[in-house]
């Protein structure tokens, strides 16, 4: 086996040197009846040539990967500068582990410290951690943290949050003695319905919203923050399209107390849903309630600056069941990719990408809305996603668009909302050329009529 340095002969000699004859004896502490008698029923070893051919073959059957696409809804296709993937492939980064030994892990530690700083700058918060698994688990941890901070057990969450995020929050809190109250969204604007906020009360730990929300509508974060604070609850804001930080007012500047986000937009490949990276930021005063790892600045005896893992007493390996979270391995390498992306793009690049997304989305929305029978489902301001109401069933329309026009036109909301058969969510980014948008518009027009008749 080419990944195992020692040859069979070397291993035989080593066995002898530790006083054994056969490899089987290495496992003598395992009761004989528990040891496998037959080899595992797995395929034979493959050469690189055969293996790559196999994965190329499966890849070829992922047809969506080769099409112009307007899918968003929590995973976004943005351009990633070539240096990002090249630099994360430096084996000093990708074959290292959690920086437990700071003297020989300063590369990773300094990069995480830069990551934490960038997350603070983007979200407008004071402190951020070294990453969570993804946006959805980050949101669930935010809910748990709100409960720890406020010692209140009711959490009010908007139905305009990504449905899969809602499911994950449900799973996480089901045994934590937290009562989840769902808020309706306004059918006209697509924003969290102001009147539904009446369910906020002095037992409420947090109001949880997403902005831009799942329907692409931007919430009035400032107003919602005031409502939450008025009852002593925290405002938790989640963001799935992190590029929006380049254009939208930072949640921190709107009064958010905890901000979580999916960082995939920062140069991370779609990769069928993962690995992505969860961003988690809050106010200084809550720093010691943060889940996950934190890197802090330190000095050595000669006063040289370095970085270390810090505030570890929050964590499971010390606090065990009383830890702020069970998370251990996080998304280090993806956080590094996001860091390299953000530093390469810089403030101007992030703003320009955000602006192009918004501009192209506005163009697409305008053109689609002008089609006979098509309307935009919601009126609130949007960033780069919006819901289209088609004159026909959306799922069928999109299927035809894919097969006949080779365009993935968006996400049929029926996947999550049985009561919205004709609605679909369209996402436009800087990677969608005008030709692609025009082809989408044209395809929708043509196929809608053919489907209607």
């Amino acid at each position: 086996m080419r990944y195992i340095p020692n040859s069979p002969d070397e291993r035989a000699e080593m066995l002898r040197s530790v006083g054994l004859e056969a490899a089987e004896e290495l496992f003598s502490s395992i009761p004989a009846d528990l040891r496998l008698r037959a080899p595992l029923k797995l395929p034979e070893a493959l050469s690189e040539i055969e293996l790559l051919a196999g994965f190329e073959e499966t890849a070829a059957r992922n047809r969506a990967a080769r099409r112009p696409s307007f899918l968003g809804a929590g995973a976004y296709s943005h351009y990633s500068p070539s240096i990002v993937d090249h630099l994360i492939q430096r084996s000093e980064f990708f074959t290292a582990y959690t920086p437990y030994q700071p003297e020989i892990s300063q590369g990773t530690l300094q990069a995480i410290f830069e990551f934490q700083t960038l997350v603070c700058q983007l979200t407008g918060m004071d402190v951020a951690n070294a990453s969570m698994y993804d946006g959805s688990t980050a949101l669930a941890e935010a809910v748990l943290m709100a409960e720890r901070v406020t010692r209140r057990s009711k959490v009010v969450i908007s139905n305009s949050v990504h449905p899969e995020y809602l499911e994950v929050v449900n799973t996480y809190v089901q045994h934590a003695g937290i009562e989840l109250v769902r808020l309706d969204f306004d059918q006209a604007t697509g924003q969290t319905a102001p009147d539904s906020l009446s369910s906020l009360d002095d037992k409420t730990a947090a109001l949880v919203i997403q902005s831009p929300n799942f329907f692409g509508s931007i919430e009035d974060v400032q107003a919602l923050a005031e409502r939450a604070h008025s009852v002593g609850a925290l405002l938790v804001v989640t963001v799935t399209e992190a590029i929006s930080f380049g254009l939208l007012r930072a949640p921190g500047a709107c009064g958010a107390d905890i901000v979580v986000a999916e960082g995939q937009s920062f140069g991370v490949p779609l990769s069928f849903g993962g690995p992505y990276v969860g961003l988690f930021a809050t106010r200084d005063k809550y720093a010691r309630q943060l889940p996950g790892r934190l890197v802090g600045q330190a000095v050595d005896r000669e006063g040289r600056r370095g970085f270390v893992l810090t505030l570890a007493t929050r964590e499971q390996h010390i606090r065990r069941e009383k830890a702020t979270s069970n998370i251990c391995t996080n998304e280090g390498l993806i956080a590094l990719a996001a860091t390299i992306y953000l530093e390469t793009m810089g403030p101007r690049g992030v703003q320009e990408v955000a602006m192009q997304c918004a501009q192209k989305a506005a163009y697409a929305a305008r053109r689609i809305a002008s089609l006979a029978g098509f309307t935009l489902a919601f009126t609130a301001p949007r960033f780069n996603e919006f819901v289209v109401r088609a004159p026909v069933e959306a799922a069928a329309l999109l299927a035809r668009l894919a097969s006949e026009r080779n365009i993935t036109g968006g996400l049929a909301l029926s996947r999550y909302y049985s009561d919205r058969p004709n609605d679909f969510l369209v996402c436009v980014t800087e990677t969608n050329s005008r030709q692609e948008i025009d082809a989408l518009v044209e395809g929708l027009a043509a196929l809608a009529t053919s489907l209607a008749t």
Binding site: G107, Y165, T171, E321
Partner: protein, 509 residues
């Protein structure tokens, strides 16, 4: 000489790369985008001003592409990594991360696939997930597999929730409310109790015996109260020993109405040799980033599949990836499921790598790797025996633990030995874990290291043992060969500085 060192350390660019924010210069650019190709919408029409950002992301670094490349290339040289040599972190299985796997994960058809693509348009990816599920099921001897969890701890949470859901279904919410105790050995990894707590269990600790194994009497005693939901056991356990009474343990817990969770972090000792499912284990998590070689990436991403018996399968997270004839489907219709633990399907990129690892080894290769891993640990145990005390005198599996008993008499402790090891060119072992061993040094070489290097490691450790006796100062002040010395972690925690701030702001704060 000193002056050399001084000049070297104080101005050498590679050794003193600053934070990128300190490198930033207004007006530098590192990117270029195509020109906007649609009619522009007026800004206010696009978005009301009150919704717009007005700080222009001030503080974010302005640098060129060249600055970025040099920045990360330089700081990367401050890291130790598997590709540089032995990285014997116990319990972490720092094995070789193959380049082939990296290449596989970057094949466009997989890397560019959107998670919400229709089933029909994502058959290849679904097949990859399905095949990996099947392989892991064969390897663990457990029928149900979910690849949704993003890391080991996430898999633990999922697995423990399965137990909870199963008991609630079996006994009925009310009745089962009495079953809220999760037994966890004192040697367990911190994520175990933390995960149990997340799932609403009360943790009770089981003692280990002088042999380093689970204390059966204590287990029986704890199981007597009828409030046992289950047991979380690591096997081989965290001191590197196989729980040879595992069958008996499972029997006891099962008879007490509980289920057995096995922490599979140490599966590198068992793959192809023995299967948890055959031992009576009900549920287990694996760490693809350990046993199945997906890169640790400086702390993730990981992937922590949860494998369980047929009885527990109905409770696994949705969606399940299933096969119907020649096509692969997402099955959302699992009424008893604990629900989602993550958006989408888990860390697919890691699944590609793990499947590639399994296909590269094949059935025989996997067993060969296990044998080589255990043999390497045994070889180290044998080589260090003369100089270091072993808390338990049983032959270790894939990792071996030592204490600093002997060295500490001279005031040299585990931490010092670890730091001194750095001067010898090795990454230190895992230290002070498990907690039940005084000054624990947990050494896991994995199969990815050859004899010469094992011998170098052994002689380095032995020469440190000598130094501890003859020139303890040398060890106490180690490392001597790194850019920076030991950092004052206490001070760092007392007044934490967790982000960079512009000078004014910083001083203001």
């Amino acid at each position: 000489m000193t002056s050399t060192n001084v000049t070297k350390v104080t101005t050498h660019p590679t050794q003193n790369e600053a934070l990128i924010f300190e490198r930033s210069q207004p007006g530098r650019v590192g990117y270029r985008l195509p020109a906007l190709d649609v009619e522009e919408t007026a800004l206010d029409e696009l978005l009301p001003e009150s919704f717009r950002r007005d700080d222009e992301l001030r503080g974010m670094p302005e640098v060129s592409e060249v600055d970025v490349v040099r920045h990360f290339t330089r700081i990367s040289t401050w890291n130790y990594s598997i590709d540089l040599g032995l990285y014997p972190l116990g319990s972490c299985t720092m094995k070789y991360n193959s380049r082939l796997n990296e290449r596989v994960a970057r094949i466009a058809g997989h890397a560019n696939l959107h998670p919400l693509a229709s089933e029909a348009d994502a058959q290849g990816a679904l097949q990859v997930i399905y095949e990996l599920q099947e392989h892991l099921s064969e390897i663990t001897g457990l029928a149900g597999v979910s690849l949704q969890p993003a890391a080991g701890a996430h898999g633990e949470m999922t697995g423990v929730m399965l137990i909870r859901a199963f008991i609630d279904a079996r006994d009925g919410e009310g009745a089962s409310a009495r079953r809220r105790v999760m037994l966890i050995p004192d040697s367990a990894h911190g994520t175990n109790p933390a995960s149990a707590h997340l799932s609403g269990f009360n943790v009770k600790t089981i003692r280990s015996t002088a042999e380093g194994l689970t204390d059966l009497d204590h287990l029986r005693e704890l199981c007597a109260h009828g409030d046992i939901a289950g047991l979380m056991l690591t096997n081989p356990n965290t001191v590197g020993l196989f729980e040879r009474n595992i069958s008996e343990i499972c029997r006891i817990v099962h008879e007490a109405g509980g289920l057995v969770y096995m922490d599979g972090a140490n599966m590198n000792a068992l793959v192809g040799v023995a299967r948890p499912g055959d031992m009576g284990v009900d549920v287990i998590h694996l760490n693809l980033h350990k046993t199945f070689s997906t890169p640790h990436g400086g702390g993730g991403p990981g992937s922590g599949p949860c494998c369980c018996t047929r009885e527990l399968e109905p409770f696994l997270p949705v969606p399940r990836i299933v096969r119907e004839g020649e096509t692969y489907k997402l099955d959302f219709n699992r009424p008893q499921s604990i629900g989602r633990v993550k958006a989408f399907f888990g860390n697919f990129g890691m699944m590609l790598r793990a499947l590639s690892y399994i296909q590269t080894h094949g059935s025989e290769g996997l067993r060969e790797a296990t044998e080589a891993a255990v043999l390497n640990a045994r070889y180290i145990a044998h080589g260090l025996a003369p100089d270091y005390d072993q808390p338990f005198d049983a032959p270790p599996m894939h990792e071996v633990v030592f204490t600093d008993k002997r060295q500490s008499r001279k005031g040299v402790h585990t931490l010092d030995i670890a730091k001194r090891l750095i001067d010898y060119g090795f990454h230190p072992m895992t230290i002070y874990f498990p907690l039940i061993v005084q000054g624990a040094m947990l050494i896991e070489p994995t199969e990815s290291v050859g004899r010469q290097e094992l011998d170098q490691f052994i002689s380095a450790m032995r020469s440190i043992a000598r130094e501890a006796l003859e020139q303890p100062e040398l060890v106490l002040n180690a490392p001597h060969s790194t850019r920076i010395g030991r950092l004052d972690e206490a001070a760092a925690a007392r007044k934490p500085v967790l982000r960079w701030k512009p000078r004014e702001a910083a001083s203001a704060a």
